[in-house]
């Protein structure tokens, strides 16, 4: 063991009460740091899970086609914008024809966990005189749970999508007075219609899904939207949805398709989460400042208490750097010890609070995530902070005049 470390430990051990108090003070700050990290990260994940959990993290779609100028409106005296609109309307309808190759690319991309090619469009669900606008999602039958776990959220029937089945949300079924096994007409915005039998009713708790989305077999959807063979979009999920932007960029360059991460459509959620994260960092920053001030003041007092010993050490040729090292090591020991104790305490409390009460669906009442307590960060930052805090007392110690001490 380096001799300076032995001296530092001996100094700390000589005043156990003061050392424990000091470590306790650091531990409280580290505890607060972990508590805030665990709460904010848990809250973020809960919010994202609730809002994004049943949606795609990334959507691949055909690139929007740019209108070509067929006629210069300025020359003809016509409004060029009208020319644009006229021409866009005449483009071929957007679809991904060779979608299988894009699915393969997505499957090869590390981090992509779920892939669902879909035929999506708008339509109306008609039962007698009742009509409801809906978003039609035509999917491969085996991938009905790809985005939202429909099967797990079924309240009636099942989710088998054959060529005559439709699965829809509870609110929509109530609106149209539909029951399992009853028929309903689905008319697309291409004015094609098909009579289908209600196979399953789900309730995922997200209004946008429960009131609006109907699931049909992708082959049924192709017929309804008059797009044989292709898909309109490929929906993806990734293992880290907070890196969806990076994944989207990678996929865009790999496929040449338009790649939209969830963050684009949920800007306010993202901004809210960012603001929440910044608030947490502010509190964590203050807790670190508390550590620095606490450690610095305590070690400064130690410097005054040990003036005689420091002076004597200087008299028999102990270098200033050795004396400074003793104090910096004391800061390091106190910081690291306090951080470990505080982090352990923070983990225990956050785990207890998470498990203490749960909602009906099994989710914790208090959205703590002890796994995201930023333990490495708190230990590293607190240790560094404490070492930096010890520099001031260390410098004061090196300035002790041995002659003054001896003469006293």
């Amino acid at each position: 063991m380096p001799f300076s470390l032995k001296v530092a430990l001996r100094h700390l051990a000589s005043s156990p009460a003061q050392t424990l108090l000091l470590i306790g003070g650091v531990a409280v700050s580290a505890f607060l740091f972990v508590f805030i990290a665990s709460l904010i990260n848990g809250l973020r994940d809960t919010l994202v899970k609730k809002t994004i959990g049943n949606l795609a993290h990334i959507v691949l779609e055909p690139k929007e086609q740019t209108a070509r100028l067929l006629m210069d409106g300025m020359d003809t005296g016509k409004d060029p914008l009208i020319l644009d609109a006229y021409e866009k309307a005449n483009f071929q309808r957007d679809q991904i024809r060779n979608w299988q190759s894009f699915v393969e690319i997505a499957a090869r991309t590390k981090g992509v966990t779920v892939i669902s090619p879909e035929m999506v469009g708008n339509g109306f669900l008609i039962r007698g005189q009742a009509v409801a606008p809906v978003s039609v999602v035509g999917i491969l039958p085996e991938r009905i749970n790809a985005m939202a776990n429909i099967e797990a959220n079924l309240v009636e029937g099942d989710a088998t999508l054959d060529l005559s089945s439709i699965v829809l949300g509870k609110k929509l079924a109530e609106k149209l007075g539909l029951r399992i096994g009853q028929s309903v007409v689905l008319r697309s915005d291409r004015d094609r219609e098909r009579t289908l039998l209600l196979r399953g009713i789900y309730d995922v708790g997200v209004s946008s899904l429960d009131e609006r989305i109907v699931y049909v077999n992708i082959r049924v959807a192709r017929g309804l939207f008059d797009l044989a063979g292709g898909v309109t979009q490929i929906e993806l999920k990734v293992d880290d949805l907070f890196k969806a932007d990076e994944f989207a960029e990678e996929l865009a360059s790999a496929t040449g398709l338009k790649s939209t991460p969830w963050t684009e459509g949920n800007k306010s959620l993202r901004d809210g989460l960012n603001a929440q994260g910044r608030s947490g960092m502010l509190i964590q920053g203050f807790s670190l400042i508390t550590v620095v001030v606490g450690v610095a003041s305590a070690l400064l007092l130690t410097t005054y208490r040990r003036r005689n010993e420091i002076g004597i050490m200087r008299s028999f040729g102990v270098s200033k750097s050795f004396i400074a090292t003793i104090f910096v090591l004391q800061g390091m020991i106190v910081g690291m010890g306090g951080a470990i104790v505080g982090a352990a305490g923070g983990y225990q409390l956050c785990a207890f609070l998470r498990d203490s009460a749960r909602l009906d669906n099994g989710d914790p009442l208090l959205p703590f995530d002890p796994a995201q307590g930023a333990y490495v960060e708190v230990i590293v930052l607190t240790t560094i902070g404490s070492m930096l805090a010890a520099i001031w007392p260390a410098r004061a110690a090196t300035r002790v005049d041995p002659v003054e001490v001896i003469s006293q």
Binding site: F3, S4, V7, E309, M313, G317, V318, S319, K320, F322
Partner: protein, 238 residues
């Protein structure tokens, strides 16, 4: 013969505001290897200042100090720190031991602090010295568990741990009862005679001074007398 320490024209002024107060006024002094020298003088005469300057803890206002012909006055702080650690030993009126450390740790502390690590050689040296000062059975006692005389013996062992050229002792018996003071002086003398270590001992006790080879008296910042107690080989210096 080159003296171990040669001091010439040593002046020290303390500045208080715009006023310079002279404390040492042109000290001329030689100390030879193996000498056992007493420094006498009343309080405020400049004894402690002279000792601090010789110990390189204080810089003189003017003058020269050569140790074995090597000028030390112009050295930097860090060089002086190394110089003290390697070539000087200090014994103070108060033992100034480190209370959290055992006797043996206190003794080898200067060596371990310089090296950065403890070594067996240091421990062996410390054990030897503690044995020499009669504390073989107290080696692993914490400093605060020792008596006053024992603490001063540990401080003497600490002063000797680096086999110094010169030990500077500032009233080493000043805080001890007469019997213990006599034992400590016997010990210093024995070490001086057996190991040839040079001692420069500040005292105001004439009995202590009478046990030294030479007595140097400082009054009002000047050496007023420099005489041998017994006939020694250094008579030609006087």
């Amino acid at each position: 013969m080159t003296p171990l320490v040669h001091v010439s024209d040593l002046v020290k002024n303390y500045r208080s505001g715009s006023l310079d107060t002279p404390v040492l006024k042109g000290i001329e002094l030689d100390l030879h290897e193996g000498e056992f020298v007493a420094l006498l003088g009343p309080s405020g005469s400049g004894k402690s200042t002279l000792l601090s300057i010789l110990g390189t803890l204080l810089r003189p206002t003017r003058g020269s100090i050569q140790v074995k012909g090597f000028e030390v006055v112009g050295l930097s702080d860090s060089e002086l720190t190394v110089f003290r650690n390697r070539y000087l030993g200090f014994v103070f009126q108060f033992h100034h031991l480190l209370p959290e450390f055992t006797a043996i740790e206190n003794v080898y502390f200067p060596l371990a602090a310089r090296r950065g690590w403890e070594t067996q050689a240091m421990k062996d040296r410390a054990e030897y010295l503690l044995d020499r000062v009669g504390l073989a059975d107290r080696m692993h006692y914490r400093a605060n568990k020792l008596s006053g005389g024992q603490k001063q013996r540990v401080a003497i062992a600490r002063a000797l741990v680096n086999s110094p050229l010169l030990v500077l002792a500032d009233e080493p018996t000043g805080n001890l009862d007469q019997e213990t003071a006599s034992q400590v002086m016997d010990l210093l003398r024995e070490i001086n005679q057996h190991e040839g270590t040079t001692f420069f001992i500040s005292t105001h006790d004439s009995q202590i001074a009478s046990r030294c080879d030479r007595r140097i008296t400082v009054i009002d910042g000047k050496i007023t007398s420099n005489s041998n107690v017994q006939q020694t080989a250094y008579a030609d210096n006087e």
